[in-house]
Symmetry: C2
Subunit: 200 residues, 2 copies
């Protein structure tokens, strides 16, 4: 069975263009990758690209959508395997935290353009994020000490306070804190425990 029997020829070429563009975007970023670069990568003339895509931005979008599409596909499979809703949430969380790293290459290059300016802002935010976590942590610790809150899991108040703060930061500001929490992907069960209990 030949490829062309399953996929249209233009679908194949489209995929080739997206793959080639993806390689170059990861290496050099969106801005520094020219249409001629992409054309050369896939062994065609520049004009040919416009037969398959209306603009450079569309190619970029296709690359990102493919990348995220894979993320969703993986997540969907993992969710299907899980039986309980809690396990489904865990599966989703695990995929998302895991894949994030694999998407880092692409994201990183895009982000690098921003980081130069962002540096200052993030530095300040980071400094005060620690203070916020401490505040929340103390409140929770008091609550636990008074028996007002019951500990779950291994009762990692640090993690709970971090999640609480991260949520607040995440919902209130496009420039959120850095996710430099140790071994985050190792703590999926714990994270989901904390968050899921809110639904019970």
């Amino acid at each position: 069975m030949v490829m062309t029997e399953i996929l249209q020829k233009d679908e194949i070429i489209t995929a080739e263009i997206v793959a080639g563009a993806r390689t170059l975007f990861e290496k050099f970023g969106l801005k520094k990758t020219t249409m001629e670069d992409i054309a050369r990568e896939v062994g065609k003339g520049k004009s040919s690209l416009y037969y398959y895509f209306p603009s450079k931005y569309e190619i970029f979008e296709a690359v990102v959508n493919q990348e995220i599409g894979e993320l969703f596909k993986t997540a969907y499979k993992a969710i299907e395997k899980a039986t309980t809703a809690k396990d489904k949430l865990k599966a989703y969380t695990r995929v998302r935290l895991g894949k994030i790293n694999k998407m880092a290459n692409l994201s990183q290059v895009i982000k690098n353009d921003l980081m130069d300016n962002m540096e200052v802002v993030l530095k300040i935010k980071k400094k005060h994020a620690a203070t916020q976590v401490k505040m929340v942590k103390q409140i929770i610790a008091e609550g636990v000490a008074k028996g007002e809150f019951k500990k779950i899991g291994d009762g990692d108040i640090d993690l709970t306070a971090f999640l609480f703060t991260a949520t607040l930061t995440g919902i209130s500001n496009p420039l959120c804190i850095d996710g430099e929490f140790p071994d985050l992907s190792q703590k999926v069960d714990e994270i989901v425990d904390v968050m899921v209990e809110g639904i019970k």
Copy 2:
């Protein structure tokens, strides 16, 4: 009682400089505000500023720290008034969500420099954030339908799914989703209910 009996003169002038700088930073941003602008604003020569601050960056830091200091002060007062840990968390959340808007002026100008580039990334992130919320929402809805999860509050699954996603986004990426959730500050009790239950 005169001011100088409580505050040192240089403390007053320092405060004046910070206040003047704050005004200009809010109006024109960090970059476009020159040391001479600040000096003119407080009615002094440029060199005088260096008698109170070692550099422009230190002035900026003082402005931001003062701004955040006020946030913490307000939060602290609110927390003191509350009796239960849950109410303390609610107070903290309320202050934080409320003050964020007041800090918007300063943040906005700083962010504007980034937004030009960020636009593209955020646009894409936003698009897929909706998909993620839907996925999580469905999982939760299933869990609730099966009796696996119990609803709390008015059982707003939308909100719960949003928070879950926001938390994941917040902890895993410095470029998090936009906080365009309606009437967020009106839902403090609900938000804290959802998040606090994770500690019980």
